[in-house]
């Protein structure tokens, strides 16, 4: 398989959450091994959604005029989601694990992401751009011709 990429730029408007989640799920669904693995699709849809919602809610604090750029990049052996925003930055290492004995206190999103991906990198560039890169290694990614 050749590499497959999509770059999407939207404003930080919640109207884009579901369309983007579906876009990603639908791209993956046409590729092996995702096409036959609903559970894998579910978990990737979930972390994509959590990362995007965090940008709208935390980086942009629900201000709908922010810009979000998302890159989906597929290689035969890995999947990468890259999120870029120009809002508030944060230090992921400072975020504590959620306390599962106190449900409802939040903090689940980043924890879901960390549990699912193989690599997570967050950097703030001097220009003020924040980049979150999520990498999941999956072998044998290819187009499903059936």
């Amino acid at each position: 398989m050749k590499n497959i990429s999509a770059i999407i730029q939207v404003s930080s408007n919640i109207v884009f959450i579901r369309p983007l989640d579906l876009f990603v799920r639908q791209v993956l669904k046409q590729l092996k091994p995702f096409s036959k693995n609903e559970q894998l699709l579910d978990s990737l849809e979930l972390i994509f959604n959590e990362a995007l919602v965090n940008i709208l809610e935390h980086a942009y604090q629900s201000n709908e005029n922010g810009k979000v750029q998302i890159t989906i990049h597929l290689e035969p052996e890995q999947l990468e989601f890259r999120f870029e925003d120009w809002g508030r930055s944060f230090d992921p290492d400072s975020i504590p694990l959620p306390n599962l004995d106190e449900p409802g206190d939040g903090g689940l999103g980043l924890w879901f992401i960390r549990q699912t991906v193989d690599e997570m990198h967050y950097t703030t560039e001097p220009s003020g751009k924040n980049v979150l890169r999520l990498v999941k290694r999956i072998s044998g990614i290819e187009e499903d011709k059936d």
Partner: protein
């Protein structure tokens, strides 16, 4: 979201996604129902394919509101994705969950 009354129980059916987009609406709806005296609430998730952390948070907040008002909230028919997430977050120990809708309804009496 669809709301129905059956045998003194309020059945709130969630849609395809119980996500950040509708989380606040769910919390507000349950709060309003409780304030109006509807204290037995069944969340029917039979049509819900997907839940996220915001959806889980809204369910927990809703349960809290009901318990504070001496009511109860239960959950029926979670999808595999919903069930998986409940287990991962240990919410399956917090919520009373039923695979069968009728059993869930009867459990209130």
């Amino acid at each position: 979201m669809n709301i129905e009354e059956r045998q003194g129980i309020t059945i709130l059916a969630t849609e395809e996604k119980l996500d950040a987009v509708v989380a606040t609406k769910l919390k507000d709806t349950v709060k309003k129902l409780a304030e109006d005296g509807n204290l037995k609430i069944l969340i029917d998730m039979g049509n819900t394919r997907f839940i996220d952390s915001a959806g889980c948070g809204a369910l927990v907040a809703s349960l809290r509101v009901l318990l504070k008002n001496k009511g109860d909230m239960k959950i029926a028919r979670p999808s595999p994705q919903v069930q998986t997430l409940f287990e991962l977050t240990r919410l399956h120990r917090v919520f009373e969950i039923f695979d069968d809708f009728d059993v869930a309804v009867r459990s209130f009496s």
